[in-house]
Subunit: 210 residues, 2 copies
């Protein structure tokens, strides 16, 4: 199979696409969209978000040392895109998109976004300039999960959330579950039984339509 | 809508899941799977991969200062999982999974993985201990794309690659394209025309079955 070299660019994919909320000292809120983000550490749990220093949210996050990452499902995709192309300098994004701030007890000063499947309040650990972007590392203070994503037995089914990924300029919903961590070495019966958890009655797509 | 707080954990999702190849001074190759990875900077293009210091690949990447990130499609998902659960200390993963090293001119000492949709050779920029994991930042030296992902006019269709995401313990293929960057503010005719690019003849899933 042949390959073509296209030179150095940011073609890691798929990427998470999340809505990052923050606030200024007067209690005004803003939301910025980020796909340059990821998990960087397990213990303690930490994530990264890279932002251009010119972004309003960059200033507010640096000043307040805190932000909230809200995961994005199909129903939020257009709001998420909007928050990535408009600036908080001239748009109140919560109001413009009729989004409701979600208070989070672990970080009272910054709201998440009501309706998001999962909100992660974070405290800034460090900010490192890398060139076009600053790498912001955050300590994850808590994880707040929408109640309907839990099963009757309390297990979390995030594969049913209809989460959205960013793939080279487009937003794609997650589709079917093709395996679980360790499935390549699992016994056949274990594998079959475990995979039944992800088979949705009445649909093969592995996610609920929002 | 109600929420339940589950305490601090690494529940950012979806995440990329990639195969990271590296080599030692004797030219032996290894592959480690990483979901703790992401883009951290646009100019210059940089990515991050977080690895436990106990991993063999962590030592080899630190020693050689180089690694290759290979994106994973549906056909590679089981190989990818295997490389995440077995150690290179007692398994030759290329041989065990019948994977073929892919030479990359930008980084002759470390191969990518033949068949991967996209390979990104990287030089280590820095390694920062964060606790359980070390945050490895890499400068992306080049991007090598499988030829069949280009259209007749040379445009890249990564949405057809059937890329795999990691979502809270399961692997999910990317499904349908629901929008493009800026679609929330695009004129209706522009939006309709652009979305036609992602409509696949003979299937609504937005990706090719590998």
């Amino acid at each position: 199979m042949g390959y073509t070299s296209i030179g150095p660019t940011t073609l890691l994919s798929p990427l998470p696409v999340v809505m990052v909320s923050c606030c200024d000292g007067d209690g005004r809120n803003n939301i910025v969209t980020a796909a340059w983000c990821g998990i960087v550490n397990t213990h303690p749990p930490m994530l990264s978000v890279s932002l251009k220093p010119s972004r309003l949210s960059h200033d507010w996050i640096r000043e307040r040392g805190a932000f909230v990452v809200s995961l994005v499902d199909r129903s939020m995709a257009e709001d998420c895109d909007f928050c990535g192309v408009r600036s908080g300098r001239d748009t109140d994004k919560f109001r413009e998109r009729a989004l409701t701030p979600l208070p989070l007890s672990a970080l009272p000063e910054v709201p998440g976004i009501q309706g998001s499947p999962v909100c992660l309040p974070c405290r800034v650990h460090s900010i490192q300039p890398l060139g076009s972007h600053d790498l912001i590392l955050g300590n994850i203070l808590d994880v707040c999960v929408r109640d309907d994503l839990f099963d009757g037995d309390g297990s979390l089914h995030l594969e049913r959330a209809g989460l959205v990924a960013y793939n080279h300029g487009v937003y794609q919903c997650l589709g079917d579950v093709i395996g679980f961590f360790g499935y390549s070495v699992a016994r056949k019966d274990v594998r079959r039984k475990r995979m039944q958890r992800y088979a949705k009655p009445g649909g093969a797509s592995g996610h609920r339509q929002a």
